[in-house]
């Protein structure tokens, strides 16, 4: 007899809905569409019970049922004769299904509708092929990428990288190349703001560096909160990912957010986000998007998490190293040079630490506060060179004494200014020291909270 593990795993991705049929005590059949079928083991599967009023009644009277599953790649189908076994409201199957339902609800803004009541576990009694007389579509061949080779390559990159910037650039590029991913982005956790900031990305039309996403919002925010991978096999079925995340951001704050656009593809097919932890604490999220449906399977989640952890440890070490170097420096002499006529107007809104340059939104939150501090000191003291150490100790920034991630925040700020093509530029001529230059005279305006 065919076993459950003989079926393609794509059957369990929810791309094409499955169905469940039961029969009532008076012999009336009932059919319902399933948002999720979860593989439990070779003889059991679990179905998401969300709105199964009639199905529940029927199963109480007769535990027999039939499910129809379909492989979304080949369109092959199977009928599964089932026997209801138990109703789980906790445990691995329930947790995995609840997380997936929550992820889909986040995409569709239907959290109030899609709530998992239980994972209904069925024993699989028999599996039969559905004999459809059409030529089945063969699943598209996927380029095989050897994860061990990718791990070895990433290891080598980490071992030879000098500094945070080269580590991020080479690390992400090699990761995408070795694993065959179209895009990758790394987000850094900012505990004080309960948010993630995009630190670097590859494969996107715009880098999105500096984009902020609150914990729990969107799939990336969910990966941060749940500390578990989030995988959506077919985003085409839902609204465009970036648009939805943006709407959620607006909804969460009750107003239209001034935000850096998230790094996003125009037509996302599938998405994978894995949390990164260092020393047992959330460090960030690594995510990948593809234009194709079903681009990531369970193995991808494991591989991305493993190599992501390697990268996260290396980024954390690079940030700590930069901090140690900075401690030994002394304050540089003052000097301020402008080479172009005209005035650059910079406005700072204290309420959310947002910074606008010549009327255009640049950044907000802690990176915004850092930039504002640099600008005010630059203007007050007539110097454009700063020590990381003085920033680290400055009361305005309120950085934690341990693991302040300053180096990463400065890199994010530097890249965001580069992305915007701003006259303001941050350069790092040596470790522990940065320069904030502007070819024009800078005029500062402060809007208090």
């Amino acid at each position: 007899m065919k076993k459950l593990f003989d079926l393609p795993r794509a059957c369990f991705e929810g791309v094409l809905p499955s169905m469940l049929a039961t029969v009532s005590s008076d012999g009336t059949p009932n059919i319902t569409w399933l948002s999720q079928v979860h593989y439990v083991d070779e003889r059991h599967l679990a179905l998401s019970c969300q709105f199964f009023r009639k199905t529940r009644e029927n199963l109480a009277a007769d535990p027999r049922a039939q499910a129809l599953l379909v492989d979304p790649q080949s369109f092959k189908q199977w009928r599964l004769d089932l026997r209801f076994a138990r109703r789980d409201t906790s445990g691995p199957a329930f947790e995995a299904m609840a997380q997936r339902i929550h992820a889909m609800a986040q995409l569709t803004r239907t959290e109030h509708v899609f709530q998992l009541q239980s994972a209904d576990v069925f024993e699989v009694m028999m599996i039969s092929d559905v004999d459809v007389l059409v030529q089945p579509t063969e699943p598209p061949a996927r380029t095989a990428h050897d994860p061990v080779h990718a791990l070895a390559r990433i290891s080598a990159i980490i071992a030879s990288s000098r500094g945070l910037e080269s580590l991020l650039e080479a690390g992400l590029e090699q990761l995408a190349l070795q694993l065959g991913y179209e895009t990758l982005s790394v987000y850094l956790a900012e505990q004080s703001e309960q948010s993630l900031y995009a630190l670097a990305s590859v494969g996107y039309p715009h880098s999105g560096v500096g984009a902020r996403i609150p914990y729990g919002i969107g799939l990336i925010g969910m990966a941060a909160v749940s500390r578990a991978p989030v995988r959506i096999a077919d985003v085409h079925r839902e609204l465009h990912y970036g648009r939805i995340v943006r709407e959620q951001l607006e909804r969460a704050s009750g107003e239209v957010e001034r935000e850096v656009p998230l790094p996003a593809l125009a037509n996302t097919g599938s998405l994978l986000a894995v949390p990164l932890t260092v020393d047992g604490e959330l460090f960030g999220v690594l995510s990948s998007e593809s234009k194709h449906r079903l681009a990531y399977d369970e193995r991808d989640a494991m591989v991305l998490q493993t190599v992501g952890q390697l990268l996260a440890q290396a980024i954390a070490r690079a940030m700590e190293r930069a901090k140690e170097v900075g401690e030994a420096d002394v304050a540089p002499p003052a000097q301020l040079v402008t080479t172009q006529p005209g005035v650059l107007k910079v406005r700072y809104y204290e309420a959310d630490d947002s910074v606008f340059v010549d009327g255009e939104y640049l950044i907000k939150g802690l990176p915004g506060r850092i930039l504002w501090l640099l600008l005010t000191v630059r203007q007050r003291e007539g110097r454009d060179t700063f020590l990381n150490r003085e920033l680290r100790l400055h009361p305005l920034l309120k950085l934690p004494s341990y693991k302040d991630n300053l180096e990463a925040r400065l890199l994010m700020l530097q890249r965001r200014l580069d992305d915007k093509g701003s006259s303001l530029r941050i350069t790092r001529e040596q470790r522990g020291r940065l320069r904030l230059s502007c070819e024009r005279t800078v005029e500062l305006e402060h809007t208090p909270a």
Partner: protein, 172 residues
Amino acid sequence: MAAQARPAGLLHNRGMRPASAPVARKDVAAFLTQGVSLAAVTRDDRMAVEITRCGGARMDDQGCVWVAVPLPEGRRTLFNVEATGVFALSAAYPLDYRTVQLKGNDARRVEWPELEQVTTQHRQRMADVLTQLGTVHAPFQLWSREFAAVVFTPSEMYDQTPGPMAGLALAP
């Protein structure tokens, strides 16, 4: 049998969220023509159920529902119809999850002159709908091209759109 043409009021909600209003009973005929996913469930005399995807369905002016059951995968469905006459049909609109289920106990196999026209039209309309979801090939792969026709009189109709109203009987 002539398929009933009614205003496509069901298509007004084209958003991706579940429709806030359930499908009204009077709109079911039009709903069935809109490229919906169709699944039938029957049972044998020992209460064993059988699911089959269907290739088209229409409601006529008398309220009877005509269903295209594909073959060979629908063989057992036809046996069950002959043995018990019990039939349930669920129709779901893939873009917004609006779903109805119609149940009857007088199902019988019939000749349906419009069978080929309806199944061709259904496949094309479903392809149009699924193009928006990136799964355009589904209606060309999920059921066979040979069909038998079954007709039944719905004695019960339910809204199955996901949400708190799921499972409630449709208002007349």
